[in-house]
């Protein structure tokens, strides 16, 4: 059974990089450009992991995490937040919202897979 991962980011280059890396590691990948779109895409899907950026238009990553946790099917799904080194408080915010962990930007494809393997 293959794992399906949803990646949420308003930057398409970032999404492409993540998708490319994860597909290379034999994951199925879905994409969304912001929180609102992510909720639509996720609806009815069986997801193993959601990776989301924080700063996005329409609905930011933290809100997305809170909304996802409120949905029964995503209550226990691992969620990783993309954050920057300077955002030390962001890790804490993400945790409080219910995120499983974080990936600090900038990150390499290897680091991304490392962290993904830590939670799946």
């Amino acid at each position: 059974m293959g794992h399906c991962i949803l990646t949420v980011d308003d930057s398409s280059t970032m999404r492409q990089m993540i998708t490319f890396t994860l597909k290379g590691a034999n994951f199925d990948v879905l994409e969304a450009g912001d929180g609102v779109e992510a909720l639509e895409v996720a609806k009815g899907k069986k997801l193993s992991l959601i990776i989301t950026d924080v700063n996005m238009p329409r609905m930011d990553g933290i809100t997305l995490v809170q909304r996802l946790r409120a949905l029964p099917e995503f209550k226990f799904t691992p969620i990783l937040v993309l954050t920057t080194e300077s955002d030390a408080t962001m890790k804490q915010k993400g945790k409080e919202a219910g995120a499983t962990g974080w990936i600090v930007k900038p990150f390499s494809p290897e680091k991304l897979l490392d962290v993904v393997n830590k939670v799946i």
């Binding site: 226990f76 691992p78 969620i79 219910g98 995120a99 962990g101 830590k118 939670v119």
Partner: protein, 698 residues
Amino acid sequence: MSDPMAQFRDAFFEEATELADGMEATLLSLDLQAVEVEDLHTLFRAAHSIKGNAGTFGYPAVAAFTHTLESTLEPVRQGARPMTSELLELMLQGVDLIRSHLYHARREEPLPSKEQQAQSALVALLQQGGAAIPPPAAATSAPAKQVAMEGGRGFAIRFEAPTDAFRRGVNLERLFRELAKLGPLQTWPDFSRIPPLETMDPEDCHLAWDIRLETTHPQIEVDEIFEFVQDGDNLRIQPLAPEGAVPCLGEILQAEAGVSPADIRQALSQQKRLGELLVDMGKVKPEAVSKALDQQQKKRNQSEASTLRVATEKIDRLVNLVGELVITQAMLAQASLQANTIQGEEHMSSALLQLDRQTRELQERVMGIRMVPVDMVFSRFPRMVHELGKQLGKDVELVMEGQATELDKTFIEMLVDPLTHLVRNAVDHGMDMKEERIQAGKSALGTILLRASSRGGHIHIEVKDDGRGLNRERILQKAIERGLVAPGTRPSEEELNMLIFEPGFSTVEQVSDLSGRGVGMDVVRQNVRALGGRIEVESATGKGTTVRLVLPLTLAILDGLTVRVGDETYVFPLASVLESFQRQGSDVQTVKGDREVISLRGEFIPVVRLQRLLSGARSHTSSERPLLVLVEAEGRRAAMAVDELLGQQQVVIKSLETHYRRVDGISGATILGDGRVALILDVPGLMRLEAGTAVVEA
């Protein structure tokens, strides 16, 4: 219960003390106008190492405090906070507190409240200063992560899963799998945190584990695995005891009998100390217990003071040498079997030659064990000079040379006070004020040179300042006032210089709170004499003063000149012998009844008749003794009349006091090669004795 960690703790304390000393030295060498970044890194690394090690060896208070210093240094070395003279002072205080922490931790006692307060105040000041330019947020958390124990045996981990672990989608199983990748893993789940069912939220996580992980990976890798689940103090990672140490019973029971660490903790918490048990049983009063503990502590301190750190290299050489000796012994045994053959004799004499060389080397090396670098005393002075200079408003720089020169450990200990006094004096009295210096055309920055050097069987330790020099007029005046010098006489410069070592002699009109009370300098002389050394003073007005301590290499062995006087053999310490010569018929003149003087190169020198001086025997003149040995001590000379010079040799000093009693003019005894006992002469003592009889007879 003996503590298997004890031997590592000693090493920890020694290393930590060295690191603290290093921090102090670096701090003192900082040029605030142009701070070397490398120095800041050095300071940071030292604080970091102390912190890391203190944590490892179970001294959290030391670790916590050094962490503060480290955190303060972090923005400084990043260039975000300037190194100011205020910060420098605070860091120096910090180093003192580290030392004090180490001192008390070593005695397994808490930091006294006075120092606790000092620490709180210091921490507040350090953090206050930091707040002006806040360190980058990431930087403060970074050092904690850097505590990477490389090459350890593994870790004992206590992990309490965060309550929201499930709700955050944390995969706990994955976590253990990651850990297992680092090495063999043992886990003991702890269900004791699970609340009663009626109050439990089924989505909360109440699990906890004790984990034993054997791995050579550094701690940072373990930290990373727990990254998403670490929250406050729910994770404790402690390195396992290093290989080679005897493991604690609990550790073995954990590994072999499946006892969980939680059980052990609980059992240990029920354990009482012997004193408490006895008090509970009514066998002893609490006061008696605390008295006994004091006594124990005293013994502990004593054993600490009597240990000696010896370089492994020195021990290795000794072991090698003993190996060689064993071979020589076998050669001698072999040779003795063929004693009557030519070959046997050849073997015998070559083996004896070898034995001779080896015995001498063994002697030197065994003595060498007691030798430690003078740096052990010197290292305290940069700080002292820095502080004294500040207090007195003088710009003083301390230059040290020859710190690696080795001295007998006993000397090192006995030199602490005299040298402290001399250095203090140099700063307080010797050094002139800045304005005076500039007026005199000297550089505003005064220099005190502390130099140790080894010179032909002696160690010279000099304290040299480039200050105002001794005021001989004032000394003379004072000496006349005190009746040390008869009015109208003019002692030589050397004699005047030596007067400063007389008890109660101080020429300073205003006594400062540091020195100048006139006590001390005579103590300096006493201590140096007790070590078999002497003091020399050189001084030039306006240019400075040099006080030189001339010390024998070791207390136990002396380079001596053996002489025969009548039937007795005496030993002169070679250091005090200037020359020996045959007397000419008429150069000894009798003065004042039966006293004799010799005129040597225009100087009249008293002739001493040893036997008369020591035993009171009445030898009428020295004329029956054909040789004179010219000796010098404390700037005075005397000619000792002897019959024969037997030779120059090293003698082992045996104390006369421990075997017999103190005898004036004799510093000890030794056993000669033929088994006879020879007395070692105390030259300064003899001169005092001679001067004493002169007064009596006059």
